[in-house]
């Protein structure tokens, strides 16, 4: 579904990604871990098409389409969803109105008619229950005055509503207490199915106790330096990243 080949990117002239290769198939859950500044969030931003990143080399294919050729909104319409690390606040725009606009834009792109009010509300209710999202947050302005946990839960609720093919969760666990973490993870788990793929970016193994990944990748200095299964995450938790860095330096010096 997603193929990343030798992806290089820079921001303000600084090289951030230095040759990422990654293959994600339908229904897979990939975790990307790595120390601070290794390029995890940058990878998410580049995939979503954030303006200030420049791709200097490499390719990204999504369902047979060259993702890098598409505008950020078209990537979203094609089915790439980014759960933001820091969701923005938009005063005066109700959560509901925002979601309706987003949903209908995506539907229009796919040649589907706009959802009628009744169908939309039905869908809203259903997804709200699925991911345990408070209905009193629905009519409030988008993320305005939401707690950190509420914002993250709203991201998962939007993910449920927009039903993308590929969901990238950028440090969704950061700033969550253990209860919120549980609710968010359980939401994600309910959304997992054979058609949908996930990329979960995280610092901590903690999240992966709740969301069990099929693959764990370690990103370091703009490259994936190791790939394993969920056991790799446990090993990282225990030993940190230094042994991997050493391994890498050893390899490079040979």
């Amino acid at each position: 579904m997603l193929t990343i080949k030798n992806l290089h990117a820079e921001v303000e002239g600084k090289k951030i990604l230095k040759g990422i290769n990654l293959e994600i198939n339908k229904g897979e859950m990939h975790a990307i871990m790595g120390p601070n500044g290794s390029g995890k969030s940058s990878l998410a931003s580049v995939l979503a098409g954030r303006d200030n990143y420049t791709v200097t080399e490499g390719e990204v294919w999504f369902n047979g389409k060259n993702l890098l050729d598409l505008s950020p909104e078209d990537r979203a319409r094609e089915g790439v969803f980014l759960a933001f690390q820091y969701p923005v606040e938009i005063p005066g725009v109700s959560n509901l109105n925002f979601l309706k606009t987003a949903l209908n834009e995506i539907r229009a792109y796919k040649g589907l008619p706009a959802l009628e009010a009744r169908e939309f509300l039905k869908l809203t209710k259903e997804k709200q229950q699925l991911v345990d999202f408070h209905s009193n947050l629905m009519n409030r302005s988008l993320n305005e005055g939401f707690s950190g946990g509420e914002k993250k839960r709203n991201e998962i609720f939007q993910l449920a509503m927009l039903d993308p093919q590929l969901a990238i969760l950028d440090e969704t666990d950061s700033g969550l207490d253990i209860d919120a973490l549980r609710i968010v993870s359980s939401g994600v788990n309910k959304l997992r199915d054979a058609e949908k793929s996930f990329v979960v970016i995280t610092h901590y193994q903690r999240l992966l106790e709740y969301i069990i990944p099929d693959f764990v990748h370690v990103l370091y200095n703009g490259r994936i330096i190791k790939t394993g299964t969920k056991e790799l995450a446990l090993e990282l938790e225990e030993r940190g990243y230094d042994w991997l860095k050493e391994e890498l330096h050893l390899k490079e010096s040979v």
Partner: protein
Amino acid sequence: MINSNEIIDDIANKEYEFGFTTDIEMDIAPPGLNEDIIRFISAKKNEPEWLLEWRLKGFAAFKKMEFPKWQHFEMPALDLQAVSYYAAPRKKKQLNSLDEVDPELLATFEKLGIPLNEQKALTGVAVDAVFDSVSVATTFKGKLKEMGVIFCSFGEAVQEHPELVKKYLGSVVPHTDNVFAALNSAVFSDGSFVYIPKGVRCPMELSTYFRINAQNTGQFERTLIIADDNSYVSYLEGCTAPMRDENQLHAAVVELVALEHAEIKYSTVQNWYPGDKDGKGGIYNFVTKRGICKGAASKISWTQVETGSAITWKYPSVILQGDHSEGEFYSVAVVRNKQIADTGTKIHHIGKGTKSRIISKGISAGHGDNSYRGLVSVGPRADNARNFTQCDSLLIGNQCGSHTFPYIESRNKSAMIEHEATTSKIGEDQIFYLNQRGIDSEKAVALIVNGYVKEVLNQLPMEFAVEAQKLLSITLEGSVG
């Protein structure tokens, strides 16, 4: 990929939609400002002697006055001698019905989305259409007449209801008020007149649509609305003009009088030609609007959506004379390219227990410069007067300007005056967030802006709120930065 600055530029450079001209036979007075032209206008309109006297007093006052210097923009050079003070579509004879209006004119208003044909008109809205300086048609007159509501052109009111005009003309905005009001008093050519009799709730929205068409003319209309005891009226004005390279002056005066327990709701959707992206051309919208809550427990509410004009300079104000009377001012002012707005309100609390509420939302894009200027004054008799002011600015891009000049003068210790102000910026982060949910940048800006101005648009009558929303989206297309 499209850079968001380009999108902003696109929006900022979006062309004006109503810039066409209408080719029609016109009576146009030669340019120049002098007593002769004032006599000419007065004679053209077959006015009584007292009105001519009043005009001449206005002209005398005007000659002694100078242009103000306190505004937050450089006063453009105005050559008032180069302006023609009278332009009117040539009438073959007195019109008896709408069917006799020049089809070219009807087509113009149709094109603007203002059908003057009563069958086609928005239900529940009566329209007075003012083309250049002259009222060309008023719809639903008959229906309104049954209820005693007078809604006609100013000129007609002078002929048909001279006692009302004489009593109230200049009673809220005297001919000596300010230089533009004095000029207007001298040369005003037409406008709208409304009288709502005692106890009548006007059954439909009243609306005046102003269109400047002729070149090198000024538009100086005068609107007078009187709501007698226990009456209610909602009034709306809209305006557009062709695209021209030179600036045109629009110096209108609006006077509102609310008697006991009466309520007047006055809404403006102003979309005069704003000039091109380099600031060439555009309307100077220098307008004096003021209402008086004369009677106890009366209410006047101004709502304005200002998106057009090269310079918008006006402070729709309320004098709260009657005890427990109420004044409101809701405003959205948008500037982009090189537009300037210096707008706000003045609320004078005179009576006891008077209340006021000011909600101002400024939006600045491109190289636009937006100032809110407001005065809340509380007199010694105004026990327990209350005011709430909220003044917000939204910036799009980083080359625009936004300023706030609030003045508070209280001479009564029991008064409660609150003022809140915020400044925010449409961030690239917000746009990207919405992009990532499948919403393109233009729609994203529209969504953010409409959220921001919702509180004000909610005050507009339904049909116009939708219009205003669309207008804002069009106005701001491509302003993201």
